[in-house]
Amino acid sequence: MTERNIGDVILKVDNISLSFGVMKVLDDISFDVRQGEIRSIIGPNGAGKSSMLNVINGFYHPQQGSITFKGNTRKQMAPHVAASQGIARTFQNIALFKGMSTLDNIMTGRNLKMKTNLFWQALHIGPARTEEIENREAAERIIDFLDIQAIRKKPVGKLPYGLQKRVELGRALAAEPDLLLLDEPMAGMNSEEKEDMCRFIIDVNDEFGTTITLIEHDMGVVMDLSDRVLVLDYGKQLADDVPDKVRTNQTVIDAYLGVPHE
């Protein structure tokens, strides 16, 4: 990887604890993400990785702790507010609008970029029309970037899995986010699709300078892509360091390989 352009802290997570009833899902987690960084969260199944992303984008409301994004500190917020502040995401089990075309899905991602009021939109004239055309151009650029021109008009529910993942990334990118959360972007892909996805992630980070936080199980991918890696296990923070240090960390190795409890 070429020289990295890492800036100030954009997201700071402080002492987050989250539980559902008696289940403690996250226990006092603190970490930060810097501008322009690719940050990974790893851990065995049920470690609380997805919950952590859900806390950041407002789906879950933690009982304790705070989140500081671009200087604004908050305890909890509604997901659509998080989106309007510049947090976009993809989901572990693809959450696309299945009945809609690829283009429409990506256009939906530009929802917050479009401002004309309902009145103009209902009539589909004037400023609403101009705006629609401008945003359509932006959507087409993303389609070109992700190399999915051929499926522009296809309903996404009918696309193969790998392509759906790509469209979902496109929808998130359409919002031009400051922070992009990717929940297992390569799960269930073959090695060729994984390579493509890796390249897109690197390109997004490189060309648009987008800060990325991702969850991934493929250790090769994680160690190659990430600037820093956060390791969770049973809701607890095991390690938080550069890939080389994490790789050799004994607690991490134990958590992944399992050690007998005395």
Binding site: F59, A78, K98, N111, H124
Partner: protein
């Protein structure tokens, strides 16, 4: 032959009237998966408000219509605040029950506000036989032609709105996946107000047509029952389905009444739609235009 054409045409027109009610159902079901039992009562309530504004406050027609639209939007906002907001993520059956409650509340409110007597609604829609066809020996009601034209405009308008605008896309997005919609910055609450407003306005159009035809009376809320087979035929999620379904039912029941009625002593019109719906449920439960029901395991 002339007689057959006349029956078919009058069936088509009656069908469009059913379609107008069914449209309101489809809009809400598409965007939120809620079967809104109160749709018929909403049409009644809109018509009552319109007549009330014209009679009690002497509003001119255009102002009364605008006033009623404002009332329907306020109603949508209120429904979201008081009802939907508190039932997020509940089972569809619970939301359905809530709309039954809403139907009673609205019916009562209409009664208290505007009184329960049958009212004439005349906003200047032409009535009587359409001259040109009447000369050919076919009787077609002008009002019904007007309703058909209005329905056509409404459908085109809704199609463009749903397919080509940001809010339309957001509506479809919410219908498809709540979480994903939230993650791209769509506020569910706003969307619900929009969708209930639009279906409130569609209810107003239906209320105007039915009110002009047979007077504004509380039995109007029962036309919602006829919309049910229309929805089963056309598919709960399809706007064109609501129109075509309405027409099939309208024509079907008229033809059945005229040609088979005498054999069984009449009154086929009353149950024909439901039998047709039953047949559809057996062989094509998603309706003619509805989304195919695919269950992945």
């Amino acid at each position: 032959m002339m007689f057959f054409i006349e029956v078919t045409l009058s069936g088509l027109m009656a069908g469009v009237m059913y379609s107008l009610v069914a449209l309101g159902f489809v809009l809400i079901f598409k965007a939120s998966g809620i079967f809104n039992f109160a749709q018929g009562v909403m049409a009644l309530f809109a018509a009552l408000t319109l007549v009330g504004l014209m009679e009690k406050f002497n509003f001119p027609v255009w102002l009364a219509i605008i006033g009623t639209i404002v009332v329907m939007i306020a109603l949508a906002w209120l429904i979201e605040r008081v009802m939907l907001r508190h039932l997020v993520n509940q089972e569809p059956i619970i939301l359905f029950m809530a709309t039954i409650g809403l139907a009673y509340v609205l019916e009562g409110a209409g009664d208290i506000l505007w009184g329960s007597d049958v009212k004439l609604l005349d906003i200047g829609i032409p009535q009587g036989a359409w001259g040109w066809l009447w000369d050919q020996g076919i009787y077609v009601e002008k009002l019904e032609l007007f309703a058909a034209g209005t329905a056509a405009i409404l459908v085109i308008f809704l199609a463009v709105f749903f397919q080509k605008t940001r809010v339309g896309r957001a509506l479809r997005a919410v219908a498809d996946d709540h979480q994903a919609a939230l993650s791209v910055g769509i506020s569910l609450n706003t969307i619900w107000v929009v969708v209930w407003s639009v279906s409130g306005i569609v209810a107003l159009v239906a209320g105007i047509m039915w009110g002009s035809k047979s007077g504004v009376q509380f039995s109007l809320s029962l036309i919602a029952l006829k919309a049910l087979p229309v929805l089963i035929l056309g598919g709960f999620t399809s706007v064109p389905g609501a129109i075509v379904g309405g027409m099939i039912i309208g024509v079907g029941e008229k033809l059945a009444e005229v040609y088979f009625g005498p054999m069984v002593g009449g009154a086929i019109e009353n149950w024909f739609a439901y039998m047709l719906a039953l047949a559809f449920l057996l062989f094509r439960p998603q309706g003619l235009f509805g989304d195919k029901i695919i269950e992945r395991v």
